[in-house]
Amino acid sequence: MEAAALSRGSSFIFLVRFLCLIRIPFVLLRVRDITGDRQCAGFIILILVLYIGAAGAGRPLSPLPSKADDDVKKPLQTSRPYNFAHRGANGEFPEETAPAYMKAIKEGADFIEADIQATKDGILVCTHDVNLDDTTDVAEHMEFADRRTMYEVQGVNITGWFVVDFTLEELQSLRAKQRYAFRDQQYNGKFPIITFEEYISIALDADRVVGIYPEIKNPVFVNKHVKWSDGKKLEDRFVEMLQKYGYRGSYMSKEWLKQPCFIQSFAPTSLIYISNLTDLPKIFLIDDVTILTEDTNQTYAEITSDSFLNHIKDYVMGIGPWKDTVVPPKDNYLESATDLVARAHALGLQVHPYTFRNENSFLHFDFHQDPYVEYDYWINKIGIDGLFTDFTGSLHRYQEWTSSVSKM
């Protein structure tokens, strides 16, 4: 698909150059003289069609420098647990913005992670919350003051400005801000929300192979509020976008290694639905012990039971649990680890827990306020297969250092 777009693109450039050279009006005059108006009109239509075709492909018409040497890009590392840049390097930048992702890539992320929802006009965007209150300046936009409303989301009434009530153009007039007050505020008001497509191009344009890890986020809620004219759902649009950019292949296949991708969701039915559409690897996210699945209303106990894991493993290749359910804490000290990882591994399921953060308020006392000690525990003691971290650079540094020395 890409090659076709490129060849269309290059053909168009050739045409443009040719036309400029011979000057369109002069040509048309000459053509009309020779062949008559109908052929002239046909010529114009041909040019227009080619132009629209190239534009509609959605890729730049000239190959980006990084695409030229596709085969020599440094491949994805697969010898140690994956470093997932959770919402980009959001320890430093406002989450899910272009700079957050680019910094994460620079810092060594294996995968950049995003949450995909839909705008009022059905465009897929990268944003975590159903509402815009905590991560954008929407509250300061007087023009949207009347959009504040209340919806039920997974059984809870939430008030705010909702993504599903804004068109893409309106969303992109907002500016992102850092969610946590104790993190760097200097980029507030600088960056817009990006689309799923923009996120994908950041990954594809990296100078080494960088995987993507998008989430089908709040599908029940989004499908309730956003309707596509062709009757398709969020899950369909999601997979279409991936396929448009050439993401395909099962885990560790040749195609997958070229463009690695994990699809994640808290909703089992969404994952099962899309397994009919793509063989890309999927990860089943698991929330806290008190939260029910949004689509099937199942409890934590049920979805982590042997029988359920046995069932879901036909559709997913791993789980993404909240780390405090894997090793529960008490008074900020770790208790004994549960057997979740062992059972998952026994069924051939990878485990990618979330979320690792450097701030001492997120670190249990066993780790002595040292994020590297926490990485060490989860990687070497618990033995997980990937980590969602807000601090890509720290995890990368830890992995680089410890891969070059034997265990301490």
């Binding site: 620079k106 450097n358 250092w401």
Partner: protein, 400 residues
Amino acid sequence: MSSSIMGPPCSILFLLLLLVARAAARPLYPLPSKVDNGERQPLQTSRPYNIAHRGSNGEIPEETAFAYLRAIEEGADFIETDILSSKDGVLICFHDVTLDNTTDIAHRKEFADRKRTYEVQGVNTTGFFTVDFTLKELKSLRVKQRYPFRDQQYNGKFKIITFEEFIAIALDAPRVVGIYPEIKNPVFINEHVKWPKGKRFEDKFVGTLKKYGYKGSYMSKDWLKQPVFIQSFAPTSLIYASNLTDSPKIFLIDDVTIPTQDTNQSYWEITSDKYFDFIKQYVVGIGPWKDTVVPAVHNYLQEPTDLVAHAHAHNLQVHPYTFRNENQCLHFDFHQDPYQEYEYWIQKIGVDGIFTDFTGSLHIYQEMTTPPHPKDGGNDDHVMSLLHKIALLVSPYEKV
């Protein structure tokens, strides 16, 4: 002569001997660790010193035995402490002049009437002062963690320890561990505590070190056996102490607004070239507050000052304080990553020692990036160290 005549004098002699032994305050038999003194792993001197600031107080209440034992376990090169005095002139390990922030004094009804207001370095301070409590009374208190965001589980469990107890912890370690005691608030202490024969705080301080065999200039054979740095904010105390011992001394420097407690000199004066020229006759280095070396604005680092270059030009070491893991103590340049902060100060600024509340983290950082030189004949260590060095050479050339 029959034994009956010799009996009583013998018993008395025996009793006297016991008294002498007790007074010497060291056990009469050598501790297990003292027997194989020559076999102990020596102090590392190939990379900046890991100075356990008040012990491993990120985890355990500061300046307690447990905090120091933990620091040694975690790999400290030196354990650091602040020496003050009790009312009866016993030197103790304690940082604040008052007991309020780090002990349960507030809950002790028997001491309720001891609250006082004194002037300390020009500031009127109210609280319960160590100089108003005898050692016995101080030992009845229990220490607590100073910061609420740190582990509170050891509150009420440990006591204040004496300078001698601190020294014993260092000497009894399974490897050579240095000590880094501070002559703390000497002006205030000498004002409130009087020792017999006109001795001063500084005399008692050095006397204690000598009693336990601390001697020798920096890097001498004696010093390497029992490493020590004497530190103080008061230049006259350091100069006075240099007449008593050749153990290396470090001149501590406070924030830019604080004058020295004894000579009332400003930050600018004591960091001037002229002053370094003078003080270097008495000290081997300086211990500045790190935000004066590289100032920060809006939690971002500015351009470093030339203090380190200055100091190094005068052959003075630089040991900045204090490094802490908590994100509120880390400037944004470091992305809430304490290891990045270590990296900056060690690689970029080039300091010679680091006072840290988190001994373990600094040790891990140093082990991962600069493992110590292998001992001669240690084959496995040597191989691993070599492999590591090779890896370090290769990794900068890999793209990410």
